[in-house]
Symmetry: C2
């Protein structure tokens, strides 16, 4: 069983850090439904481009920090623990922290944001700058190196498109889960494939090699058994895990699998186009360039049938200025860079006032 | 709390029935996930058509008897209790029973059937004929007055098409639940409508009056709140309950609602056509007549936008011999008629042997 810390014990290590803790740092957190990652990055001077590789002092990992999933107390404890771990590993303490940028799933409203800000405020001294965002924001930032401009498309088990303009407007599309039309997601692709098996079996749809390939993967002997398998466990990730089988069937020339992937491409492209359109990221003539950060297993497959590449092709027909980016750093680093960027912007403003 | 009977107590009333219990009866049961109905019908002599109204001695109602939902012990107790209630109300006892025909949801395999037959065998004397079927069979029989020939289309929260030939072959289509493509069901219609609201809101789909009408019905103030509402409760029936709102929007001329209903019509027709095709119910020339029994809230709406009527129109383009039937009796009566039919057939066979 996971050891439960009493509040305070988490930070006991700080007494032993002493003067080492004087190097100023930023904490970047990516809090997902599966795991939470915290990066401790030193403050580095402004440069364009950023130093490569980026200076990272420490990386800590913990479990789920989505308050909708595990409850507020557990979510808060996970976040506090993972930040303490990252500081301990980097030989720092809270007084060395200049900023915390926390991107966490389940933060959808300003009330969620405020609640998380209040937790953080209790943990850190008042001089520490605190930023709280939805987890899509860290994903965007991991591709744009900390700039909130452009669009991010996430397609893993679920899918969402999230965009920002340089003047701070934002928009999203999809991200409403499988019942509410996230058909382009990994779950959507796999559920369509399972459906195709049932339809081929009962005479409503064409024969497909998805039947034999998926049943074999699941260790089932007949499509009849799919119903029991499907409803035995409500986990969306378990169904989405079948995406690679669908891709390999499409690569083998299966028409049904090909059409499922093609539909997914259109759905994902539609989400991006809706965000680009609403924010005017493409400029007035529709041809301005904008970054499109692409994140998640569905887009990273990089096989012969390359869903991510097809999505970009589709979008570029409407918006030729799309600049696809496959991030080289993880979202927690994106969050740290975002924190760094916020800090730099605020310093510039303060310098300007003087 | 429901009183729990010890096995045996259920049948205590029989000591007091005495000679009244000599009139021979049939029990017909329709066991669903919501409720279970048992009809006690006297044996009546063969006549074509049947006497109208049909002689029904008693009707008893109990809760869920789907063993997948409530477990085997509770399901068995519910079935036993509802049969005892029907016999008590009709002034009969078990020695008066000639046949029991039990149509129950959750019976999909011969192993399910055998298990239920074994329960029934423990309850009734050996001379009683026992028949166990899936609940779609009682629905068919309620329209064909006990004959297992033709096709039944059920479209309520879920949907299934089930068909039989006179020589005993059977086939089904759909009935695999919402993840596996039951798009024509009440759940399917309503989920598409909720999806249309999200898509209109984030710029992926056209504006629709479904947004205002459904949000008002649910007491929500913004499409943002739909996500929370949708995943707060996994009940499919709760979502399917929105079908009448979709129908009224289509009747008011809303294009999006109209297309959702049109898709549902095509899906439901496709299920029936797959069954008809596989069983050859339409004859070799595709023009033979066959009964299509139509059951469930989606098909019974009988409004200006009449889904059931459109489904029949659609099917008749391929199979002009389709004879739609809206049953006048409930499925439990269908089960009793089926039991009566089985009995008559067996008597004829025995008479022939002599």
């Amino acid at each position: 069983m996971k050891k439960r810390y009493r509040n305070g014990e988490i930070w006991d290590f700080e007494h032993e850090i002493g003067e080492l803790g004087n190097r100023e740092v930023i904490l970047g957190l990516d809090g997902g439904t599966t795991s939470t990652v915290c990066i401790c990055m030193p403050i580095f001077p402004f440069s364009d481009p950023f130093p490569d590789p980026l200076p990272v002092l420490a990386r800590a990992v913990a479990g789920c920090s989505n308050h909708n999933s595990v409850g507020e107390t557990a979510a808060r404890e996970t976040l506090e623990q993972v930040m303490a771990d990252a500081l301990l590993k980097s030989g720092s303490n809270r007084s060395a922290v200049r900023a915390v940028c926390l991107s966490v799933s389940g933060v959808n409203h300003s009330t969620d944001e405020l609640r998380v800000l209040n937790w953080l405020r209790e943990i850190f001294p008042t001089h520490v700058k605190l930023y709280v965002q939805n987890d899509a924001v860290a994903a965007l930032s991991s591709g744009t190196m900390g700039k909130l401009h452009g669009c991010v498309l996430i397609a893993g088990t679920g899918t969402i498109a999230f965009g920002f303009t340089e003047d701070g407007r934002q928009a999203r599309a999809a991200g409403a889960g499988p019942v509410l039309g996230d058909w382009g997601s990994g779950y959507g692709i796999a559920a369509q494939a399972l459906t195709a098996i049932v339809r081929a079996y009962d005479g409503r749809g064409p024969v497909t090699i998805l039947s034999s390939n998926i049943l074999q993967t699941l260790g089932l002997s007949s499509p009849d058994e799919l119903i029991g398998w499907t409803y035995a466990d409500p986990s969306w990730a378990r169904i989405a895990a079948l995406v690679p089988v669908v891709v390999s069937c499409a690569e083998a020339g299966d028409r049904v699998a090909h059409e499922i992937l093609q539909d997914s491409v259109e759905e994902l492209a539609l989400s991006v186009k809706a965000v680009v359109q609403r924010l005017g990221l493409c400029g007035e003539d529709g041809k301005a360039s904008f970054p499109l950060v692409m994140v998640g297993g569905v887009l990273e497959a990089n096989k012969r049938w390359d869903i991510g590449k097809e999505v970009v092709n589709h979008i570029s027909k409407s918006y030729p200025g799309v600049l696809p980016i496959h991030p080289k750093v993880e979202p927690a680093v994106g969050a740290a860079l975002l924190g760094w960027n916020f800090l730099m912007t605020e310093s510039q403003k303060e310098a300007y006032k003087r």
